[in-house]
Structures are given as structure tokens and as C-alpha cells.
């Protein structure tokens, strides 16, 4: 399966179908999700209207983590099978993941102010997400600093794979750390306790975010491949022109 789609032409054919499909689905689902979360769902009995921040916040946090998982899988595939497409995917996923992480932190902070009375609380989950942002930034900085494309690909893959082990340990250690000094005001959202009228808009928004991320990743992958092909064509044309000039003179 993997090697089947690592052929650039087959990938291009697939991307031509999937890009408009994902894009359309993302837009429709985002529209429905926004309508459900902001107009068609009731305010929370405890949190009032501020519950609506959850519908943009929770899917962003989920995408921040899911995209890191995707980055690690793409890096693993590149590291083991050396598919150039997997590395290109890792390269375009990283900035997207960082943006979703910033979005999650930002909306979380906006939600925290009315709920906990503070913009930032050093609780386990928020701290882990902040560390996740640092991991994304380190990955992008390393890739940007390496000029040789192959070195950047291989070194980035190693760092991304080490990062997933690290993030698991960070999760446990930060839980332990915050249990030493647990603030009492944290509101917990455990899956089953959430009411159906809130679960629906949340689920729609989560699916919409997923398609949005898939759309953006495929779009950027394809435009990167096109850019590379355009550069090769231009180089070929310059070469032909030079040969013609030599032949004329």
C-alpha cells in the first residue's frame, strides 16, 4: 500500500480527488459544526455560554496530538523504508501541528479566564501541551538549520521518533508533578458525563477539524511536489537554451 502511493504520479492522481473532497467536507462540516455549537446547542447549566469555547478548543487540542502522532508515523515510514513522500509529509505536518497547538493553548486560555479566574493554570494537561509546542518548534528549527535535504530528512525523523517516547514520559511525569500540588478548581470533562446535546456539536467539530487538517496536508504536499517539478522543468529549459546558443555560435 505504502510503496504503491509513494509513486509521485499515483499520489498526484489520488491527491487530485482527495483535495477537493476533503476541502468540501471540511467546509460543510465546519459550517454545520459552528451552527450547532453556537446557535443550536443549549448553554451549560454551570458554565453558561462560555461552554461554546469548548467546541473550538477540544478539537484543536485533539488535532495537536493527532498531528504529532502522524508526524511520528511519517518519520518512522521514512526512516525504515526511505519513501520521499513520507518525509515530505512530515515536513508539512509539523507547522500545521504547531498552529493547532497554539490554537489549543490560546482558546484554552480564553476559556480558563471565565472558568478558573486565570488565563493560565500550571495543571498537568496544559503543561504537557506547552511541552508539545516546544517539541514541534525544536523539530522545525532543526530541519530549518540543516541545509542538506537528505540530512534534514533523516535527522528530523530521528528527532520526531524520539519525541514520541519523550512525550509519553512527559505526560506521566507531569501528572506526578501536578499531583504534588493539585489545584482544587480544575473542572474535568470525562467522556461519558458529557450531555448528548454537547457531544453532537463537539463530535461534528472534531471530524471537521480532522478533514481540515487532512485537506491542508494534502494540499501542501501536492503544491510542494508541483513546485519541485516546476523547478526541474525550468532547469531543463535553461539547459536546452544554453545548448541552442552554443550551437548557433
Amino acid at each position: 500500500m505504502l510503496s504503491y502511493f509513494s509513486n509521485p504520479q499515483r499520489f498526484d492522481q489520488l491527491a487530485r480527488v482527495l483535495i477537493p473532497l476533503f476541502g468540501g467536507l471540511a467546509l460543510i462540516l465546519l459550517g454545520v459544526g459552528v451552527w450547532l455549537s453556537f446557535f443550536a446547542s443549549p448553554p451549560d447549566y454551570q458554565q453558561g455560554e462560555t461552554i461554546r469555547i469548548m467546541y473550538v478548543h477540544v478539537p484543536a487540542a485533539y488535532m495537536a496530538m493527532a498531528l504529532y502522532a502522524a508526524l511520528a508515523v511519517a518519520s518512522f515510514v521514512y526512516f525504515v523504508w526511505r519513501h520521499a513522500l513520507a518525509d515530505a509529509a512530515a515536513e508539512v505536518i509539523a507547522p500545521l501541528g504547531a498552529v493547532f497547538t497554539i490554537l489549543a493553548l490560546f482558546t484554552g486560555s480564553l476559556w480558563g479566564k471565565p472558568m478558573w479566574g486565570t488565563w493560565w493554570e500550571w495543571d498537568a494537561r496544559m503543561t504537557s501541551v506547552l511541552v508539545l509546542l516546544l517539541v514541534y518548534l525544536g523539530y522545525m528549527a532543526l530541519r530549518a538549520a540543516l541545509e542538506d535535504a537528505q540530512q534534514a530528512a533523516r535527522t528530523g525523523a530521528i528527532l520526531a521518533m524520539a519525541g514520541i517516547i519523550n512525550l509519553v514520559i512527559v505526560k506521566f511525569s507531569v501528572d506526578w508533578w501536578s499531583s504534588l500540588h493539585q489545584p482544587a478548581s480544575v473542572i474535568r470533562f470525562d467522556g461519558p458525563t458529557i450531555h448528548a446535546s454537547q457531544l453532537w456539536p463537539l463530535a461534528v467539530m472534531a471530524v471537521a477539524y480532522t478533514f481540515l487538517a487532512g485537506w491542508l496536508v494534502l494540499y501542501r504536499l501536492r503544491s510542494q511536489a508541483l513546485r519541485r517539478r516546476a523547478r526541474t522543468l525550468q532547469r531543463q529549459r535553461e539547459q536546452v537554451a544554453r545548448q541552442l546558443e552554443e550551437a548557433v555560435s
Binding site: L137, F172, S173, W176
Partner: protein, 222 residues
């Protein structure tokens, strides 16, 4: 002498001769813990409460200080290629290398941590626990700095990049090492658990990081 022993000794002597040995990290550590009270204020209760945290934080920063030297020079002059061609298992080789540098440069850290904690007004018992935690944290800190250093070897002004890569990985060991000193100061029974967890992170890092460092070293060649 076995190749691993000679690599260990070469690295220790290089660190000793080239960078002032233990003096560099130790002086940086001392400077950091001198500046912290000046920034925070001289209130004795506050300083005693944060002493363990400041000591671990300053230790982390001073380990990062010398991280670009370990693999940067070898990458620049071709020693790294020779190492990989030498037939010595790369995983053992990089472990000997990192530990060689750590042995030469990082040994004063627990002692300065102990004296620093006493200066911040921590009683001798909890200060000793904090110093032990620093000792237990050294392998993890050195290996993580080595991993980041191997990834960024030979990049110009790599220090900042190494710090950015290494800090998220140093989160667990920082939490447990500082937690040991902190809970010892609070009279919490979790001090021992934190100390054990610091040691566990160090052992786990010793088992895993050499593979990462060896792979990183190879990925930066050719």
C-alpha cells in the same frame, strides 16, 4: 587498553584540557544560583522553599552550556567518520564518549548544589537529598544533551538549537530531581519516590539514548 576505555579517557582529557574541565560548568552553575536570589528577593522562607527547584534548573542549564562541544568538533574534523569506521559498536562508543565528558566536567555539580541549598537556608538533611538527586540526574542530563548535540553537530551557532531540542526531553528528569529536594524540604514521604524516579529516568535514558545518539551521528554523515 580497550577502545572504549581509550575513548572515555580521550573525551575526559579533551574536556579537561580544552574547556577548563569542570571549572566551566561549575562556574556557570555558581553564577546562576548567585543571580537567582538577586532576582527573586532575599526573603529566607521563599528562598528555602524554592532552593531545590533553582538548583536543578541551574544544573540543567549548565549541562546545556557545553553540549555543542561534544559532537560538534568531531563532526567538523572528520573524527566522527573514523569512529563509525573503527569497528567499535557505535552504541557503546557514544555512551563512552558522553560519559567521558560528563565524568570530567559534571562531578562538582552535586557538591555545589549542596552548598547552594545550604546558602538558601535549607536544613542539611533535605539539602543532601537534593544533592543526591542531582547526582542521580547527571547521566540523563548528559545523555539528552549529547543526543541534541549529535543531531545538531556542526551547525553554526548550534547552542540555541541544542537547548530548544533538549529542554522538552529534560522535563521528566527536572521534575523528579527537583521534586526529590522539594518534598524532602516539605517533610513529604514522596522524597524517596522522587529520588528513585530520577534514578529510573537516568537508567532508562542510559538504555535508550545511545541508540538515538548513534543514529543521529550516522544521519549527519553523507
Amino acid at each position: 587498553m580497550s577502545p572504549l576505555a581509550s575513548i572515555f579517557i580521550r573525551e575526559a582529557r579533551l574536556a579537561w584540557a580544552g574547556g577548563g574541565g569542570a571549572a566551566g560548568p561549575a562556574a556557570f552553575f555558581l553564577a546562576a544560583i548567585t543571580l537567582a536570589p538577586l532576582a527573586i528577593g532575599p526573603a529566607p522562607d521563599l528562598l528555602a522553599a524554592i532552593a531545590a527547584g533553582i538548583m536543578s534548573f541551574a544544573a540543567l542549564l549548565s549541562v546545556l552550556q557545553s553540549a555543542d562541544r561534544l559532537f560538534g568538533d568531531d563532526h567538523g574534523d572528520g573524527t566522527a567518520e573514523l569512529y563509525l569506521l573503527s569497528g567499535v559498536t557505535p552504541v557503546w562508543l557514544v555512551l563512552a564518549k558522553v560519559m567521558g565528558q560528563a565524568a570530567a566536567t559534571l562531578w562538582p555539580m552535586p557538591a555545589i548544589g549542596l552548598v547552594g541549598a545550604l546558602m538558601y537556608g535549607v536544613p542539611i538533611g533535605p539539602a543532601l537529598v537534593g544533592a543526591l538527586a542531582l547526582l542521580a540526574a547527571i547521566p540523563a542530563l548528559a545523555l539528552i544533551a549529547g543526543f541534541a548535540g549529535a543531531l545538531a553537530a556542526g551547525i553554526r551557532r548550534s547552542g540555541l538549537l541544542i537547548a530548544l531540542i533538549a529542554t522538552p526531553m529534560m522535563v521528566p528528569v527536572l521534575i523528579f530531581a527537583a521534586g526529590a529536594g522539594r518534598s524532602a524540604f516539605d517533610g513529604d514521604e514522596r522524597a524517596l519516590a522522587n529520588l528513585m524516579l530520577t534514578l529510573a529516568v537516568s537508567l532508562g535514558t542510559t538504555a535508550l539514548a545511545p541508540f538515538g545518539i548513534a543514529a543521529a551521528l550516522r544521519s549527519r554523515l553523507g
